[in-house]
Amino acid sequence: YREKIERAFLDLKDEYSRLFSAVAEGEALMEFREGLHVSVRFKGKNFQPLSMLSGGERALASLLFYIALFRIKPAPFLVLDEVDAPLDLPNVQKLINLIKELRKDTQVIIITHNPATARHADFIYGISMPEDGTSRVYSMRAEELFNSTG
């Protein structure tokens, strides 16, 4: 058991590290001592306590962790609710590319207000709420999405 955990740690450490330097052009270090310690630095910057990172940097570091997990051990689905809210457009694009890589093994359901994110999906559902506090679901196509968000 202990061996399995150490093995999982090494795989995760490598995968996260590789993703971080490829996507964030930075560096990520993980340590396993009484728990899972993480330290990251972004391009051109030094290592800093996680609390000093920006909102978008924290979101990206966290999302890359999920992507690393799913690359090692995909689960049948992954639900992401408005995870792109703090990201700038280039980082949204990076997230989308990573999600697209996951899609052969994992069904990704992503809730978003960002048309840039939504249009890369294979299927789009619109949820609306006419006056009566009742949700209605209808499928949409990418062109309709752009018309409705004007």
């Binding site: 399995k4 955990i5 093995r7 999982a8 995760l12 396993f32 009484e34 728990g35 899972l36 310690h37 993480v38 996680l50 924290r58 570091a61 966290s62 999302l63 962790f65 999920y66 997990l69 051990k73 995909p74 689960a75 049948p76 689905f77 992954l78 639900v79 992401l80 609710d81 408005e82 995870v83 703090p86 697209k100 899609r103 069904q107 990704v108 359901i109 992503i110 809730i111 978003t112 207000h113 048309p115 994110t117 939504a118 249009r119 890369h120 999906a121 294979d122 299927f123 789009i124 559902y125 949820i127 609306s128 709420m129 006056e131 009566d132 506090g133 009742t134 949700s135 679901v137 949409m140």
Partner: protein, 158 residues
């Protein structure tokens, strides 16, 4: 197995029996603020056995039952079914709750216990709810966890 469809009935803003079909690949869900998108996520978590009502933005578990709107009266029960499919195989995990507080789980229509549901989910590759759902506003969770708490992810991998 992939998530083929979910059925919501009386759950939060879904008083009307609503089925949502999913496909392999990427599905995007869009819509105005308050329209019910995160309620769908709550339904998935709830059906998978979430026991902490606060994680479903509810004070008590019965709060997930449709409480009425300006033009509909409150309902007395809520039900969510998750249907997973792989080729010919089909697995349906369900959960019901009644306003008096009774709640039950169902696997392929038969009554089951929470632990049976968790075992079934593990069988199809869902180690834990944290592994498969990132709730709204929770994207930084991994960073905010203590090093000890993060071990659950290593356990899911092992």
């Amino acid at each position: 197995m992939y998530l083929h469809s979910i059925l919501l009935s009386g759950f939060k803003t879904f008083p009307v029996r609503t089925q949502i079909k999913f496909h392999p690949g990427i599905t995007s869900i869009v819509g105005p603020n308050g329209s019910g998108k995160s309620n769908i996520v709550d339904a998935i978590l709830w059906a998978m056995g979430e026991g902490r009502s606060s994680l479903l933005r509810a004070s008590r578990m019965e709060d997930v039952i449709f409480k009425g709107s300006s033009s509909r009266s409150a309902l007395s029960r809520a039900e969510v079914l998750l249907n997973f499919v792989q080729g010919e195989e089909s697995l349906t995990i369900g959960r019901r709750i009644y306003r008096e507080g009774d709640s039950e789980f169902l696997i392929n229509g038969s009554s089951a216990r929470l632990r049976d549901v968790q075992d079934k989910l593990r069988e199809i590759g869902i180690e834990s709810r944290e592994y498969v759902v990132v709730e709204q506003g929770q994207v930084e969770t991994f960073l905010n966890m203590s090093p000890q708490e993060r071990l659950v992810f290593l356990e899911a991998l092992a």
